[in-house]
């Protein structure tokens, strides 16, 4: 079985995958037990599976595992913990910017990528950056406020 080595949340991991085209999402969730990235559509249409690869937000549901070989993947688990949340996570918690929370991991990863490139975005820039991340509970206002709060912090 083909073997792939890459970094996940700062640690080097080696996984095997019978199919080199297996999306990264299933490798993270099932082989590595990282359940933060969520399956929402498998079509790169909803953003629930978003992780960072070398700092860029990607949809792990359509990213073949072979493409991340030797690269660095960050999932939401790599940002912070409930006890020690990262600034963006702390801002989401302070704004109570979640209802069901199924989209939250993707929202935070996408926002983190935005803030890395644009540390002080306008509200419209945040809206544009999150245009590909869906939320069905209607938590949009709080999510926008959370990202802007993190940008100010």
């Amino acid at each position: 079985m083909p073997i792939y080595t890459f970094r996940v949340n700062g640690q080097t991991v080696t996984v095997d995958s019978w199919d080199p085209d297996q999306p990264l999402l299933y490798v993270l969730r099932n082989a590595l037990g990282l359940h933060g990235p969520k399956f929402g559509c498998g079509l790169a249409q909803c953003g629930a599976c978003t992780v960072a690869v070398d700092g860029n937000a990607v949809r792990s549901c359509v990213t073949p595992v072979k493409e991340v070989a030797d690269r660095s993947v960050t999932t939401i688990e790599g940002l912070g913990t409930p006890e020690k949340p990262s600034p963006i996570q702390a801002a989401f918690i302070a704004e109570q910017a979640a209802q069901c929370g199924y989209c939250t991991s993707g929202m935070i990863m996408e926002s983190q990528a935005l803030l890395t490139q644009t540390p002080h975005p306008t509200r419209d820039q945040v809206k544009d950056a999150l245009a590909g991340n869906l939320c069905r509970c209607g938590t949009h206002t709080r999510i926008l406020n959370a990202v802007l709060r993190a940008a100010k912090a």
């Binding site: 995958s17 019978w18 199919d19 999306p23 299933y26 969730r29 099932n30 359940h35 933060g36 990235p37 969520k38 399956f39 929402g40 559509c41 498998g42 079509l43 249409q45 909803c46 629930a48 999932t75 939401i76 688990e77 940002l79 912070g80 913990t81 409930p82 949340p85 996570q89 989401f92 918690i93 109570q96 910017a97 979640a98 209802q99 069901c100 929370g101 199924y102 989209c103 939250t104 991991s105 935070i108 419209d124 945040v126 809206k127 544009d128 999150l130 245009a131 590909g132 991340n133 869906l134 939320c135 069905r136 509970c137 209607g138 938590t139 949009h140 206002t141 709080r142 999510i143 926008l144």
Partner: protein, 733 residues
């Protein structure tokens, strides 16, 4: 993967809060008991509450959170009545072997039923604690209070911890419906914006969803649905998936599924499995829906409201108006495709599900699969928001079918096309509205006639068992869909008639504020049309028809927040380039008996058909407020969700199948379109507390349609307000 340990309700009680946390996290697999414990009857205090030796408290309830924040309200309610700090409470939700059956989640019942039951149990428990404290402190119970988890003399002096009085023991006490309740005026926990315990977990990827749950030896299952909804399976070419490792194919009549050790293998096998199916063309196609609704065979007319003599009053009115409104089938379109884990064994069957009603699901599965209810345990775990009955119950049946077939635990997660294509839908609705106004412009008569599929009640057919040819119920109840089809104004002559279709093209279920969004869309759009006919400002017209001060308060507040200037519609202001700007308002009282809600909006309509909602204001009165932050989150969510439903959402189908099966063919509201939302919560501590999971949805579509009319002079009477539809209607004007 965690160790498998038996954990029954008794053990939860014995081991206390710490274990409950692990239980909720799913790292411990309960297998000890299947039947509901005898002490789980909703008549018993112990069914709802357990105070542990360490002073922590577990609440047991069949109402589930599923992202609404209701679990926090339960903690606050019990903490308030018991005088124990809210941080010490955890909630076990929806477990047929561990929680009382006091109803499932739905119909905004979490506060008025769920929390009310927990409150009575806690109030009963408080009396018992005071009595126990009286004996230990040698003080009359009437002179004791419970504060910070201690029973103490009101006058001061040494107290005793609640845990020292009853920790680890049962109350063995029936819930006393007349146990004295705390006076809301003295509340210190209820009414406060207590933060949700799940949010930090959810924001750090640590919250364990049903989708994240696994069992040792668990296989991954996927279902292969027919290409036409009623097609029969003719043959399967097993060789088509031979290259995929460890795949097994499960076939029962026309039910076709695959299981594999590896999830990706199951997904690929389901995608690549070649099967041939019969032709089937039993759907009317969504383009023909309005005609279908009007012409399909209907049950005898059902008179929903009959006040005065609407027919005579209409005939005698100075001016009579009529209009037709329509609403499409809509999907719950949950972020997470439905999921379930089932483990069917001789000794008993376990099902983990994000169902909104564990007891209802158990009853249905038990009947369909022929399992004794005391050998079937259904455990709730959080999924994504479901906003009603999405595919969760169907996925449970799929997982059970597969687990029984292969004799191992099976996790089924639907794919996106399964969820959009096969979740039971919110019904399409068609409404003819007629009303009469007198010479002064007062509404004197109102008639609503509606056509929609709905009923009979009873268990819904589950997709998998239907394909497998298993006998089951075919309930089609979509959930109180005929309410709010009369105006929330005291009109003397009102008649509402429902023509309920005998059949439905697509399976039905409850979808957030069932039926009432479309009904209020018709009623409150038409109220604006009457205001126009009377030559009046939309707010003034409504004010004149209302006497209830709570109704007037929400109407005035929403109008004030949007900066409402009295004038007639449409907006006489000159267009800004290709943009036309307008404002609109809508008001209703939910179910004519619960929440008062008014919503106002400011919109810009581009002549190319694009509607931009700039601002939304909402004034909301649900009586006593339990948690203002949770409530605000729900109200904002209702508004955004319903804007999405009104602007974009329509289930499309041809003669064979649903064709809107992903986020591109079933578009929803995205961030760039998200408006500013301002909410005012009117607290009425002396009034009954109602839920808020639905009410603010109901006036959204009408407020939007009224604002578009104000901007353009053109009235949208069919949802969704897609750019194509808006363009067409504008061109016709």
């Amino acid at each position: 993967m965690g160790t498998v340990t038996a954990l029954s309700r008794r053990e939860i009680l014995k081991t206390g809060g710490a274990m409950v946390v692990s239980f909720a996290l799913g790292s411990i697999v309960p297998k000890g008991s299947f039947a509901q414990n005898g002490r789980s009857a909703p008549s018993e205090v112990d069914s709802f509450l357990a105070i542990h030796e360490d002073g922590s408290v577990t609440i047991f309830t069949s109402h589930v959170d599923i992202g609404t924040g209701i679990a926090t309200v339960f903690r606050q309610t019990a903490a308030e009545e018991l005088g124990i700090p809210v941080e010490r409470f955890t909630v076990v939700e929806g477990d047929t072997a561990a929680t009382p059956n006091h109803g499932g989640t739905g119909g905004s019942s979490g506060v008025p039923q769920g929390a009310a039951d927990i409150r009575r149990a806690a109030a009963t428990a408080r009396q018992k604690l005071l009595d126990l404290g009286a004996a230990r402190l040698n003080h009359p119970a009437s002179e004791l209070i419970i504060e910070s988890g201690e029973v103490r003399p009101k006058s001061g002096g040494a107290g005793i911890a609640v845990a020292a009085l009853i920790g680890g023991q049962r109350f063995s006490l029936a819930v006393d419906p007349s146990a004295p309740l705390k006076n809301p005026a003295t509340y210190t926990v209820v009414g406060k914006p207590i933060l949700r315990a799940d949010v930090p977990q959810k924001c750090t990827g640590r919250h364990v969803y049903l989708q994240d749950f696994s069992l040792p030896g668990m296989l991954h299952g996927r279902i292969v649905r027919p290409p036409a909804m009623g097609a029969k399976l003719i043959s399967v070419d097993e060789s088509s998936v031979r290259g995929i490792p460890d795949v097994r194919i499960v076939r029962m009549e026309s039910f076709l599924g695959v299981v594999a050790k590896d999830e990706w293998a199951a997904i690929r096998a389901a995608r690549e499995l070649k099967a041939s199916w019969s032709e089937w063309q039993g759907l009317p196609a969504s383009e023909n829906l309005e005609r279908y609704l009007r012409e399909a065979p209907a049950a005898p007319d059902q008179v929903i409201v009959n006040r005065g003599d609407a027919v005579a009053a209409l005939a005698g009115a100075a001016k009579q108006l009529s209009a037709t409104y329509s609403w499409p089938f809509q999907s719950h379109a949950s972020m997470a495709p439905s999921c379930a884990v089932a483990d069917a064994k001789e000794s008993g069957t376990m099902v983990w599900s994000a169902t909104q009603g564990v007891f209802g699901l158990r009853a249905n599965l038990a009947k369909v699969f022929g399992i004794a209810p005391d050998k079937l345990r259904v455990v709730y775990m959080d999924g994504s928001g479901s906003y009603g009955t999405n595919g969760a119950d169907d996925a449970a049946a799929d997982a059970l079918l597969l687990s029984r077939a292969v004799g191992q635990p099976v996790r089924v997660q639907w794919m996106r096309h399964d969820e959009h294509g096969w979740d039971p839908k919110g019904p399409a609705q068609l409404l003819d509205v007629r009303a009469g106004i007198d010479a002064a412009g007062n509404i004197v008569a109102w008639e609503t006639q509606m056509w929609l599929p709905d009923g009979p009640s009873g268990e819904r057919a589950l997709v998998g068992p239907e394909s497998a040819g298993m006998e089951q119920g075919h309930g089609q109840n979509a959930g109180l869909v005929t309410m709010n089809a009369d105006p929330s104004y005291p009109v003397s002559h009102v008649r509402v008639v429902a023509h309920k279709l005998k059949d439905t093209p697509l399976r039905l279920s409850n979808l957030r504020a069932p039926g009432k969004i479309a009904n209020v869309f018709a009623v409150e759009s038409f109220t604006d049309e009457l205001a126009m006919a009377a030559g009046m400002d939309a707010v003034a017209f409504r004010r004149r028809a209302l006497a209830d001060p709570r109704a007037l308060a929400v109407l005035d507040r929403a109008a004030e927040m949007i900066g409402w200037k009295p004038r007639r519609s449409p907006n006489p202001q000159v267009a800004q380039g290709s943009l036309r700007v307008g404002r609109g308002i809508a008001y209703m009282r939910y179910k004519q008996a619960e929440n008062y809600v008014a919503i106002a909006m400011e919109v810009a309509v581009d002549l190319n058909g694009k509607i931009t909602v700039r601002r939304v204001t909402c004034a909301h009165d649900c009586g006593l407020i339990m948690n203002p932050d949770g409530l605000r989150n729900q109200v904002e969510g209702n508004i955004m969700h319903t804007l999405s439903r009104t602007l974009y959402e329509e289930v499309r189908f041809d003669h064979s199948k649903v064709t809107s099966v992903d986020w591109s063919s079933y578009p929803v509201l995205r961030f760039p379109e998200a408006p500013e939302i301002e909410v005012t919560l009117l607290n009425r501590p002396d009034q009954h507390a109602y839920g808020a999971g639905e009410a603010a949805s109901a006036p959204v579509a009408a407020a939007l349609a009224n604002a578009v009319f104000d901007a353009t002079g053109v009235r949208l009477r069919s949802v969704p307000f897609s750019p194509e539809r808006v363009r067409t209607v504008l061109a016709r004007a």
